[in-house]
Symmetry: C2
Subunit: 218 residues, 2 copies
DNA sequence: GTCTATATCGCGATAGAC
DNA sequence: GTCTATCGCGATATAGAC
């Protein structure tokens, strides 16, 4: 509130970041509801009072983590123009994405419940979702324009496909967390398979070749 | 524990069921972590002590609700033999399923978090998942045998598709809950669209016609 | 089977010293 | 910026009367 963030804010930022890292780890391991602000403070080796100096409450911490997550994603995946190139790197992109999602896996597990009880969180989630699916759709339209997409796609198909892929992407990691060991690299590969099983049949032969390119090279 | 369930158990079963109904409603509205055993007791118009007579604790209630949910599903959808007929009724089946899912929507929202903190729940969930996806795969193989599935499906495709569809089915309702009004019938229809956008491209022309049949008649 | 009363515990949050 | 101390509250769970 009263912080003019000059050089004085440095130490504060460090502690703040440290709290977020610890909280993220605990949330990932035990789920947000099992983790109290006291646990976080203890885990971070600071006092409860200090934690409340940096954050209003637990919700505030969760919001900050979502902001981190979103930023990390958007730093990494600035949308590019060439859909063909994107197809070629799709697999590695999915793998890289899964790394990030793993770091914030409590989120993938709990978002839908969390946004229900925190309107502020809900708003940023909706915004992210809209932007993200918008990117998918733009990607699909690029594919179409470049003849990489099978022709007779009824209107709305690309959008539906984008949402379906979003759902698969949202769901598969926490799902593996339950049914298998998500750290197993082969399982991560299965995650990309699940996305591709939805996407592939919409690609032309040329599109499929672009997709497999990297598999040949790698 | 010491209950020889004869005629004496009748009243007990009624109260038990009533508690479950109330709990389900509250969980749906506020999420499991915001709802305490006291809230449930108050909502049911009974004392906290009475609630603990019928259930060990909150986890126990949640487990009972999952059992209810699973049973309700399996009573409704006994697998049938004719895949072509199944295709024709797929849309209505999806719509009917969404009714059921709506009644237990807190589950769709929270399962993955819930199973993490309750091993018993985790076990039944895994079991249900395995059985359900197994049914999907069997369905896919029937389609294939009847020439309703496009021919060159690489091994594993049907299974991947089954899992992808499971993920879409798991995800879309709670997702709508966040992004739109899930009670809007058109939104429910969009849910089936999302499943079909993954399935349709794998169908032969004949398969697609079987799928559209009902749309013509309705 | 159901109630009332209560014990215990830990969470969220703040005040005030340093 | 960080700590210690602490208050108030509500959640879980049990004891014992009816």
């Amino acid at each position: 509130m009263n912080s003019r963030t000059g050089t004085a804010g440095r130490k504060s930022e460090l502690t703040r970041k440290w709290i977020l890292d610890v909280a993220r780890g605990l949330f990932n391991d035990h789920g947000t509801s099992a983790v109290s602000t006291n646990h976080i403070a203890a885990g971070a080796g600071i006092s409860p009072g200090n934690l409340y100096y940096h954050f209003e409450n637990k919700k505030d911490i969760i919001r900050a983590l979502l902001a981190e997550y979103t930023t990390a994603y958007e730093d990494r995946w600035a949308p590019t123009a060439d859909a063909g190139e994107n197809l070629a790197t799709l697999r590695e992109n999915l793998a890289a994405w899964s790394e990030l999602a793993w770091a914030y896996r409590f989120f993938e597990r709990e978002v839908l419940a969390l946004v229900r009880v925190d309107p502020a969180l809900r708003d940023s989630y909706r915004e992210t979702y809209a932007r993200r699916v918008g990117q998918y759709v733009a990607f699909g339209e690029q594919l179409e324009a470049q003849g990489l997409l099978r022709a007779p796609a009824p209107p709305g198909t690309i959008h539906d496909l984008a949402v379906a892929i979003w759902l698969i992407g949202q769901g598969w990691l926490p799902f593996l967390d339950v049914t298998a060991d998500p750290r197993d690299p082969r399982q991560v590969a299965r995650g990309t398979d699940l996305v591709l099983v939805a996407l592939t049949p919409y690609l032309t032969t040329k599109g499929r070749r672009a997709l497999e390119d990297v598999a040949q090279r790698g």
